[in-house]
Structures are given as structure tokens and as C-alpha cells.
């Protein structure tokens, strides 16, 4: 029970600590310990009842312990003492500012929001005071200067149409006054001033107000709550000195502009006769003064009529004083009952209508017939022209109305086109209706459907027609196509439609969909089909199909094609004219390229070289400046319509070669005259097609470069051969080793005489060594050995060697060192039999032309052979040396060479080489000079021409040179004629 009770309690506030039994009793706090503290924790002490009883802090000591102390005046040159204006707050306690203090800082309404009424009263009082004050008009200036400030309420009222002096409330007609009530509402009990004439006239005017004029309610004078603190009697108003002295009625109006003298004269009453005092001081208490002319109205006669006899009897105006009186009080007059009822509710800014609006008579709606059903049926329009008269007749009957006669058609029954015809206007271009956009087939179909629908009413509908109706629309074609698939007719029914669709001129095959992209041959067939469709072939389908396919396959494909063509047929011309293409095609493969390319650079450069500035060096492009740019430059836009900016661009295939055509075109020209010359010269011998030579010559394209002169060379060669063959045939002492297999070395060795000539012709476009390296690369181990040596030596020497190697061979070298002879011969056969199966046939076709590029590949096959003669390996090495980082001198590899004979020879050669160099240096100073001159070709030639003589003389000492020449010469000398035959045979092979 108890538990449940406690649980049910609702508790408020914080519970007291539970009293524990064993806790010692709390001692009550003694009185002196019961302290009150303020918000700052200071002890408060009882101060007085008015300030809440307590105060805290420092008392009457200006908030500080010491209290206010007068500060000493300190002023120095550096720190001038400022003028200190002490405020009263400086001498006040904190408490004084609190709510109950002397100077409470509280929130007060600003002047804007205080009511103006209060002010007016105060003003009046002040004005009164000022008048009473010893100097009249004391506060006048102050009043004048006071800012024109109105309270918010007054402003709002003014905005609502209220004017000062009016009461608040709805405008109303003024009732004619029954009696003249002193409107001022104030009774003057003492000194009664003469009433203002103007007031009276106002009263009188009121009497004659027209009926339709409404007036604002009278202003209500609020009850004056100014306390009476003077010993005067009730209602006593002090005498206005102005009025009293000058008799002027205007109270409070001080003419500022009259001179003081004037005023004083007024005061003294010495004004002119026109200033005759009308009123003067008059009243009960004053009697007639000595200066008074008339003695009238000395005594105030009080009449009973001046007093109200009935309480609340008469009310001024409408008696509302601006209030909205409760409704029942206003129900006095019947005529204005409505007005009165509305009085309270009328909206501000609105007035009651003077004339009640007429009540509109509402007529009842017509009665519906009994059997009326609120459903509307649209009558189908029967076109007599399209339907058969029989059907039309039936339709008419079924619909229960006869067709309207066209003659009876009124103006409003005509449609736009008919009206146009009547008016004689030309018809609009373009399709008039949606149906015009359909092609004829579709129209027919629609017509058929419509007809069927009409016939359907009569109940006659064939199976096929129903099917057609069902399939009508977009799916019709597909349905037919499927039908055609079932039937094995060669001409698919749908194909005709397709044909008509594709025959339209706007049909663009390029833009059409490619449905069989994954199957290129099929797509190709489809494209063919489409293109034929476009041309209007009737048998487009059959002709484009692959004849090799089976009947079944063909049937399938036929079906597919027709369907695809139907699906992706181009929109008809009229329809497509209504659409525009997308402005931006998202074609990734296209690239914007400037429409106009800058002219050929090389042309210009050449023109510049010729100092032909002018047309040749200038180009003009169409250039579109930005619209804003034109505006900023104050220039009319040269292309006002165009939206593009900059140079006009053209879309081109991104990966197209033609984009770079202009560049590639220029290349052969930039390649120099040599390339241009060599190209036309290239005989059928020229095997590999020549790459366009880049403008910059690098040592990497050396082999090809070497090839170029060779083309010319080969021709020379062939000619020379033919001439030399007869004469030199007996001279060949050496047996030709493997004549068919090693044609090249001798052939190449034969070249030099011609090459020299060629080189002469050739400009110094290239160090000759490269050329000859390439030429002689494969020919001899001797040369390579020397070159390998040369690697360690200076390049001058190398050049020298080359020059040495270039010694005219053959006939001149007949009496050469016999020891050297075997080397090439042994090497050559060694290479030949080894390489015989693989190398020669492979090399022959490519190398046969004798082109330098051919030489390298020729030499390369042999390395595959296990047993290598010296020549190929060295040749390779040489290549490495040329193209790669320089290898250490290959002397180390020499002993490893399999050709036993060549090893000692190599050593011998080395020595010989050095010897030769020495001897050369010693013997022929001419040579030295030439060595140092890298490219003195003419000199070289001379040297070569001279050389044979010394060589012949000391052929043994010039071992290396000899060996070189041996290597080159031996086969050459042997077989100048044989070579020719070999070449011919090779050629023959090639041509086979």
C-alpha cells in the first residue's frame, strides 16, 4: 500500500536531504551569521526600506574604498593636463544607478514613440508659463527652433489620411446643429476674452453644408491632467498681456518682424488710432479702467443658460468623440440603420456607398428534360469522297443524320485552307499537316485502316485486314518483314517499302546506322545493298547478297537486311527538314585543323634568302576577331554573323596522313639537292624504297645516305663494267672463288674509281669516311683490321686510312704483295662455303643492286654461321663502333679468330700499319697535310692519283695499305669481267 502511494506522488521542487537518524542535530545558524550577499558576493547590509532593504559594497564612497578624492592638478610640458569635465555620475555610488537609485538607468520610450498629445499639453503649459513669465516670449525662440518631430502614431495616422485638427473615426455627414454649443467646450469663468470672429463664422458655415459632403469627426480634446499647483481658482486663466495691452486677439503670436520700438509703443498704448483697443483688460475683477472709452460689459452677467441643466443630454457632433460606440446606441434613426450597423466594421480608407447598389435579379436555370443524360457523343465525320456511297449511306443512317451540304457551310465552318483559297492567298510552303509528312504508303495504310474501321461497323472484316489493322503503325513493316521471312519469295515484300524509303535524296548512307559492324563482310554487303537502294535498284537485295552462301543463309540475311533497312531508314525529306543536326558532333577521331595552312615554309625561306620580301613571304588568312574585341577597339565586327573566333577550323581525321602532308611534302626539298638528284636517277637496281630524307642529317642515316650516291654509282658501274669487261678479262690472274656466292666484295671494290668522281661532284655534305665505311664494310678483313686499329688512333689517321683504302685498285695493283693476297682469297672462300646455303641466296636479291644499305644486310647473315671468317665479324664490330659507344680496340679478339691464316697476318698488318704510317709521315709530307684536312676531297683525289706510284715502289712497306687494296683489289682485279657476269646473273635472279 505504502509503496504504491509513494509512487503515485507527483513531486515538485528539489527534495530536502533525508534526515538521518544518527546525524547530529544541525545547529541553527546564529543571527549574526545570517548574511545577505549581493550578486558580487559582497555582504549586504540593511540600508533602508526604499532600496529593498539591503545594500552592499562601499557606501557613499563612489564605489571605491577610499571614496572620491579630489585629484591634484598635474600638468607638465610633456603631458599637458586635459580639461576634465566631471559628470554627476562620477560622484555617485553603484547603487544610485540601480532600479531604486537616484539616477536609475532604465529603458524609456524614446520621443518618437511617446504620444504627441502629452507634448501639446506640455507645450501649452510652457507657452502659458512663458506668457506669464516676466519677459514675454521667453521660450518663443526655443519653440521655433524645436525640430518638427512627430510621433510614429501621428505619422501612421497621417498616412491613413488623417489631418491634424480632425478626429479619428469614419467620416460622416454632419447633422445640423440644434443649438449653438460653445464648441470650445471650455468655459471661461474669469476674464472672458472676446470670442474670435473666425470661430463663429465657421459655425455658421457648418449650417450650410451640402448633403453629399462628409466630414471627419470632431477632434476631441483630451482631458487635461495637468495638476493644479497654483493658488488660483478653478478654471482661472491668467491674463494674456498681449491681448490685454494691445487688444490683439492672436494669442501666442508674436510678430518677430516688428521692430522693438513698435512693440514698446504697443505696450505703452501709444499706437495710432487704428490700434484702438477693442477689448483691453476687462472682466469681473477689473472694472473699467481710466483709459476705457466705453463702459459697456463691465460686469459679467452670468446666465443659467450657460450651465448644463441635463446630465449627458447633449453631445457634441455625433457624440462619439472618435470612439466606435456599441451598436445598440446607434440604432436610433431608421434611415441610417444600415450605415450605423456598418459603422463599427467599416474598413479604414473605405466609406459607405451613398447609394445602395441595385439588387441583381437571378433567373433560375432552365429545367432539363426528363430523359436528358449528361453524356456527349462526338459524331464521326463521314467523308463522302473517300468512302463509297453505300458505306456512307449506311454510316449516315447509323449516325442518324444526313451529311451536311458543303454549300450550306457557313463562314465559320470553313477551315483555314478553305478560307485561304477564298481569299486568294498563296498556300504555305512546307507540309501543312502531319499527314503530309507521311509517305504515300503510310497514307494508304491509314486510309485502309479508316476504311476498315468504317466497314468494321458493318461487320465485314477479313482475317488479313484485321491483322493489318493490328499491325498498323510502326510495327507494320516489321510484321511484313517477318511474313516475308516465312515465305520463300525471292523478292521480300518489305523491300519495296525500303526501296521507297531509301530512294529519297536526303537519305545519307554515311550517317546511317551500321548494324553489322561486327561482321565486316556482312556489313560490306549491307552497305552495298543500301547504296543500291539509294540508287533505286529493284533487285538491290538479291544482287548484294553473297552468291556463295546457302539458300538458307541467304534467306536469313535477306530478311535481316530488309529489317535493318526498315529500322534505320533515313527520315523522309520533309521530316528531316524540320530537324537540325547537332551542332557539335562528338567524334573522337576528328581533329580541328586550321582551314588555311600557312604556305610552304621552305619556299619562304628560299625567298628570304633571295631577299625577295613581299608576296612570296606573306600570307593572308581569314581571321575572326572576337565581338568584344571589336567593341573595345571601336571597330565594327567584320563578320557580324559569324560565331566563330580566330582562324576558321576544319575537321579532319585525327590520324590521317594527310594532316601532315604539307610537312612531308616539304621534306624531300629540305633534304637538299642531292636527294632530289638521286631520286630520279635510281635505277631498277635500287632495291629498298628510299625513305624521305629528313632535313637534318645525322650520322645515323649514314647507310642510307651512302646508298644514294650508289644508285648513281651502280649505273656508272654497270656501264664501266661493260666497257672494262673485254679489256680486263685476261688480266684476272686469280681464280674466282665461289663466283656465284661472293659477288659483292669485288663489285664493291670496283666502285672506288667511280666513287671518287662522284665524290668530286658531291658537295662537302658529309665526311667521306662514312660512305666508304659502308661500302667497304663487308669487303675485307684487312680494312676492318686497320680500322679497328684506327679506332685507337686519331680520326685524322682514320681518315687517312680511308684514303689509303680508297686507292685505285685493280689494274694498278697488279704487282702487289703476294703475302697479302691469300688473305682475302682465303677469307672470301671461307666465308663463301660456310655461308653458301644461307647467306648468299638471302643476300643476293637485296644486295644485288649494289646499294649500300644492301651491303650491311649482306654481311650480317654470316655471323649465324659457327665458323666465321674475319670479315663479317669485324664488319659487325665496325658497325658497333660506328653506332654505339666505342669498344675497346678489338685486337684482343684477333687471336680468337678461327681463320688461322689471318691471325699472324693481322699482327703483321698491325705492324705494317704502323710502319706504314711512319713511313707515310716521313716519306710523304703531302699526305700528312691531307690527313689533317678532313675533307679535302680534291686533294684526296690527287693523292690517290699520285699514290699508286709510291705504293708500287714500296709496296711491302705499305703493308696495310696494300692489304687493303689487296682485299679490295684482288677480287676486283680478278674478276672485273666475272663480276659483271655475276651481277648480271644476280639481276637475272632478281628478276625471276
Amino acid at each position: 500500500m505504502a509503496d504504491s502511494d509513494t509512487e503515485d506522488f507527483v513531486t515538485y521542487g528539489t527534495p530536502l536531504d533525508p534526515i538521518e537518524e544518527d546525524e547530529p542535530l544541525k545547529k541553527p545558524v546564529p543571527l549574526h551569521d545570517q548574511t545577505v550577499k549581493d550578486e558580487k558576493g559582497r555582504f549586504k547590509r540593511f540600508h533602508g526600506a526604499f532600496t529593498g532593504g539591503f545594500s552592499a559594497g562601499y557606501f557613499n564612497t563612489v564605489g571605491s574604498k577610499e571614496g572620491w578624492a579630489p585629484s591634484t592638478f598635474v600638468s607638465s610640458r610633456q603631458q599637458k593636463a586635459g580639461k576634465v569635465n566631471s559628470r554627476p555620475e562620477d560622484f555617485m555610488d553603484d547603487e544610485d544607478f540601480s532600479e531604486h537609485g537616484i539616477a536609475p538607468r532604465e529603458i524609456t520610450t524614446t520621443e518618437d514613440f511617446t504620444s504627441g498629445r502629452q507634448d501639446t499639453i506640455r507645450d501649452k503649459a510652457r507657452a502659458l508659463n512663458s506668457l506669464v513669465a516676466p519677459i514675454p516670449g521667453d521660450t518663443v525662440l526655443e519653440d521655433l527652433i524645436a525640430p518638427a518631430r512627430t510621433s510614429v502614431g501621428v505619422e501612421m495616422l497621417k498616412k491613413m489620411g488623417w489631418k491634424e485638427g480632425q478626429g479619428i473615426g469614419p467620416r460622416a455627414k454632419r447633422k445640423p446643429r440644434k443649438q449653438n454649443v460653445a464648441e470650445a467646450g471650455t468655459r471661461i469663468y474669469s476674464c472672458a476674452l472676446p470670442p474670435n470672429g473666425s470661430e463663429e463664422s465657421e459655425e455658421e458655415e457648418d449650417e450650410y453644408t451640402p448633403e453629399n459632403v462628409t466630414f471627419a469627426p470632431k477632434d476631441v480634446m483630451p482631458i487635461d491632467f495637468t495638476p493644479k499647483d497654483d493658488p488660483h481658482g478653478l478654471g482661472y486663466r491668467g491674463l494674456d498681456p498681449h491681448q490685454a495691452l494691445t487688444g490683439l486677439p492672436g494669442m501666442g503670436h508674436i510678430d518677430l518682424f516688428t521692430l522693438d520700438s513698435d512693440r514698446t509703443s504697443n505696450l505703452l498704448g501709444t499706437g495710432g488710432p487704428k490700434h484702438r483697443r477693442k477689448g483691453g483688460i476687462s472682466g469681473e475683477a477689473f472694472g473699467v479702467g481710466a483709459l476705457e472709452d466705453a463702459d459697456a460689459d463691465i460686469y459679467d452677467r452670468d446666465a443659467l443658460s450657460n450651465y448644463d441643466s441635463v446630465l449627458g443630454g447633449e453631445e457634441p457632433g455625433d457624440g462619439l468623440f472618435g470612439w466606435t460606440a456599441p451598436a445598440q446606441y446607434n440604432k436610433k434613426t431608421k434611415g441610417s440603420s444600415r450605415d450605423a450597423s456598418y459603422l463599427g466594421k467599416i474598413l479604414e480608407g473605405f466609406t459607405l456607398a451613398s447609394q445602395a447598389s441595385e439588387i441583381k435579379t437571378i433567373f433560375p436555370p432552365p429545367e432539363l428534360p426528363r430523359n436528358y443524360r449528361p453524356v456527349h457523343y462526338f459524331r464521326p465525320v463521314v467523308d463522302l469522297a473517300s468512302t463509297s456511297p453505300m458505306v456512307a449511306q449506311v454510316l449516315m443512317e447509323s449516325k442518324g443524320h444526313m451529311p451536311q451540304q458543303t454549300q450550306e457551310k457557313g463562314r465559320h465552318q470553313l477551315d483555314a485552307s478553305q478560307r485561304r483559297d477564298l481569299l486568294g492567298e498563296s498556300s504555305l510552303t512546307g507540309p501543312a499537316s502531319v499527314f503530309d509528312l507521311l509517305d504515300n504508303k503510310d497514307k494508304e495504310r491509314l486510309e485502309g485502316i479508316r476504311r476498315l474501321a468504317g466497314v468494321g461497323a458493318s461487320g465485314a472484316m477479313t482475317e488479313e485486314r484485321r491483322a493489318a489493322v493490328v499491325a498498323a503503325g510502326v510495327a507494320a513493316a516489321a510484321a511484313k518483314a517477318s511474313q516475308s521471312a516465312l515465305s520463300s519469295l525471292p523478292q521480300t515484300p518489305g523491300s519495296e517499302e525500303v526501296l521507297s524509303a531509301w530512294r529519297s535524296p536526303t537519305a545519307d548512307t554515311s550517317r546511317s546506322f551500321r548494324p553489322f559492324e561486327k561482321n565486316p563482310p556482312k556489313q560490306a554487303r549491307y552497305d552495298q545493298y543500301i547504296s543500291k537502294l539509294k540508287q533505286g535498284h529493284k533487285d538491290a537485295l538479291e544482287s548484294s547478297l553473297d552468291g556463295s552462301m546457302t539458300e538458307w543463309e541467304r534467306g536469313r540475311e535477306r530478311d535481316e537486311f530488309v529489317r535493318a533497312a526498315m529500322l534505320y531508314k533515313p527520315s523522309s525529306s520533309s521530316l528531316s527538314s524540320r530537324f537540325t543536326r547537332a551542332k557539335h558532333e562528338d567524334n573522337e577521331d576528328m581533329v580541328e585543323v586550321a582551314q588555311e595552312q600557312e604556305g610552304d615554309v621552305n619556299d619562304k625561306q628560299s625567298a628570304v634568302k633571295m631577299k625577295m620580301f613581299g608576296k612570296l613571304t606573306r600570307d593572308t588568312f581569314e581571321w575572326h576577331p572576337d565581338k568584344l574585341l571589336c567593341k573595345r577597339f571601336n571597330i565594327p565586327d567584320p563578320y557580324p554573323g559569324s560565331g566563330l573566333v580566330g582562324l576558321p577550323k576544319v575537321k579532319k581525321d585525327k590520324y590521317s596522313v594527310f594532316n601532315f602532308l604539307t610537312l612531308t611534302d616539304s621534306r624531300p626539298e629540305s633534304g637538299g639537292p642531292m636527294g632530289a638528284q638521286s631520286q630520279p636517277d635510281s635505277s631498277p637496281l635500287a632495291g629498298p624504297p628510299k625513305r624521305a630524307e629528313p632535313g637534318k642529317k645525322s650520322r645515323w642515316d649514314m647507310s642510307e645516305r651512302a646508298g644514294q650516291p650508289k644508285d648513281a654509282l651502280s649505273e656508272f658501274l654497270s656501264e664501266a663494267r661493260s666497257e672494262a669487261s673485254t679489256s680486263q678479262q685476261p688480266a684476272s690472274s686469280q681464280p674466282a672463288p665461289a663466283p656465284s656466292l661472293t659477288p659483292e666484295p669485288p663489285a664493291l671494290s670496283q666502285l672506288p674509281p667511280e666513287t671518287q668522281q662522284l665524290q668530286e661532284e658531291e658537295e662537302e655534305s658529309r665526311p667521306p669516311m662514312d660512305l666508304f665505311k659502308a661500302i667497304f664494310a663487308s669487303s675485307s678483313d684487312e680494312k676492318s683490321s686497320s680500322s679497328s686499329e684506327d679506332n685507337s688512333e686519331e680520326e685524322d689517321d682514320e681518315d687517312g686510312h680511308r684514303q689509303m683504302e680508297l686507292q685505285p685498285p685493280g689494274p694498278l695493283n697488279t704487282g702487289m704483295d703476294p703475302s697479302a693476297l691469300p688473305v682475302p682469297s682465303s677469307a672470301a672462300p671461307g666465308a663463301a662455303p660456310g655461308a653458301a646455303p644461307g647467306a648468299a641466296p638471302g643476300a643476293a636479291p637485296g644486295a644485288a643492286p649494289g646499294a649500300a644499305p644492301g651491303a650491311a644486310p649482306e654481311a650480317k647473315p654470316p655471323p649465324e654461321q659457327p665458323k666465321l671468317p674475319a670479315a663479317p665479324s669485324k664488319e659487325q664490330r665496325q658497325e658497333e663502333e660506328e653506332f654505339g659507344p666505342k669498344l675497346p680496340p678489338p685486337t684482343s679478339s684477333w687471336p680468337q679468330l678461327p681463320a688461322s691464316s689471318s691471325v699472324p697476318q693481322g699482327d703483321a698488318h698491325k705492324k705494317k700499319c704502323k710502319e706504314k704510317h711512319k713511313s707515310k709521315k716521313e716519306a710523304k709530307k703531302k699526305h700528312k697535310k691531307k690527313h689533317k684536312k678532313h675533307k679535302g676531297k680534291k686533294e684526296k683525289k690527287k693523292e690517290k692519283k699520285k699514290k699508286p706510284i709510291p705504293e708500287e715502289s714500296d709496296s711491302t712497306s705499305d703493308g696495310s695499305a696494300d692489304s687493303d687494296s689487296d682485299a679490295d683489289d684482288l677480287p676486283g682485279s680478278i674478276s672485273t669481267e666475272q663480276l659483271l657476269t655475276r651481277l648480271k646473273s644476280l639481276r637475272g635472279k632478281k628478276y625471276e
Binding site: 574585341l629 573595345r632 580566330g646
Partner: protein, 274 residues
Amino acid sequence: MAFPLPRPQPPQLPHHLLRTVDCKQGAIRAVRFNADGNYILSCGGDKTLRLWSASRGTLLKTYSGHGYEVLDADGAFDNSHICSCSSDKTVILWDVASGLVSRKLRGHAGKVNCVRFNEEATVIVSGSIDGSVRCWDTRSRRPEPIQVLDEARDGVSSVKVSEYELLSGSVDGRVRRYDLRMGQLYTGHKNTSYKLDCCLSHKDTHVLSCSEDGYVYFWDLVEGSVSLKLPVGKATVQSLSFHPSEPRLLTAMEGSVKVWGAEPEDTVEDQGQQ
């Protein structure tokens, strides 16, 4: 009856050194007269742009705000704005009086070599090493240029703006003239080995060019012959600028700017000596 024109006088060439101004702002990259020739703009290597009085050689204002050396500058026709370009890829439009950046135009991909106002200072044309000429609008706050002329194949080294034409010289050896009236682009072709800075004299009678040998060469425009070889100093003459109306020349070498006049003006010299 019109009076016959006065006999054309031989052109006066500025060959008297009026004063030398040590700018103290690093290497002077460019020196320019303002529109009326009363003020000098010097673009320093210390990222500042300075405005000098041409008649007295006193420093009037320093404009700092570039992030790298200032390469070129130009003054607006009404002297209310200055535009300058810098290696920091920006073009800055300065308010002359306050010295504050009124617009910083970013968009070039490389350092901006040259900058010019158009006639009404409504467009700034700047050429950059990135091969583009950009036209910036000074009227709007648009951060992008009005138009980019990217026809040049190589860096644009100089830009000139006339009433209706834009001229741009490029390192690809071509001068391009963009004619706004016709909407056409003319591409000329010329081969110059190298170029420091050159300009035309005030009457277009002579072509002036800086040189690396410390001279300024005056070439006769028509004849093409050297008419005056003005020794400026030992170092390279970096930049020069000709007075728009008088025979006055500004040359910049290393850290100082020199003012040259046709005749030694006493008053001016006195001031200069002071």
C-alpha cells in the same frame, strides 16, 4: 593659297646624354616612356616596376606585386593605369595613383614577354613565350581573355597595337598582323638572327636597335644604313624607348636608365647635375 611647307629639316637624333638614372632595382628589363613622354617606366629584375619623372629623373612611385622579374610595361593613354607583365606568367594592371594592383590577369602558360594597351586602354594585349597573344578586357572583371591568338608557332617576343591592328612578332621568325577591320590575318616572314629591342624614332625616320656591344644603332629607315652609332656603355643595351614626340631616347643598361636628348638642354642638365 597655302604657305609652302617648311623645308624638312634633317632629323635630329638624340646623342646627348641628359642624365643617368640609377634605378636600383636590379637589371632593367625594359624601359618605356609613357603615352606623352613625361614619365618613364622601368621594369626591374627585382620584381618591381618604377615610375620616374622624365624631366628630373626622380622616383615617383614603386609598384611591387609581381612574383618575378618584370619584363615589359606600358602606360595607358590617360596615365591612369599601367600594365606590366612578368616572368611569373601574369599581367598586372596597376592603378597609377594608388600603386595598387587593380587586376591580375593569369592565363599565360609561360613568362609574358610583352604587353601593350590599346588606344583607349580598354584592352591589354600580351604576348608570351607560350606562343600566344592574349587580349584582356580591362573594363570587365572577367578572368579570361577576350581572345587568344595562338597562331604563332613559337614564343611571342613583341606586340604592338594600333588603332585597329595587332602586330605580333614571334620567335618563329614571323610577324603577324591581325587586322580587326578586315578580319584577316597577315603573316609576314622575316629572318632576324636575334633581337634585343628596337623601335622607331618619333618621326619614323630611323630604326633604332639595341645591341650587345653597348651601342644603340640608328638605321635610316629607307636607306637601311647606319646613321648613328650611339655609345651607351660597355654592357648590353637591354631596352630602349623613344619619346613619342620629341627626339628623346631612353636606354636601359644593367641597372641604370639613361636619357638622351638631341640638344644639351642647359636647364635640364642643371637639374640633372643637381
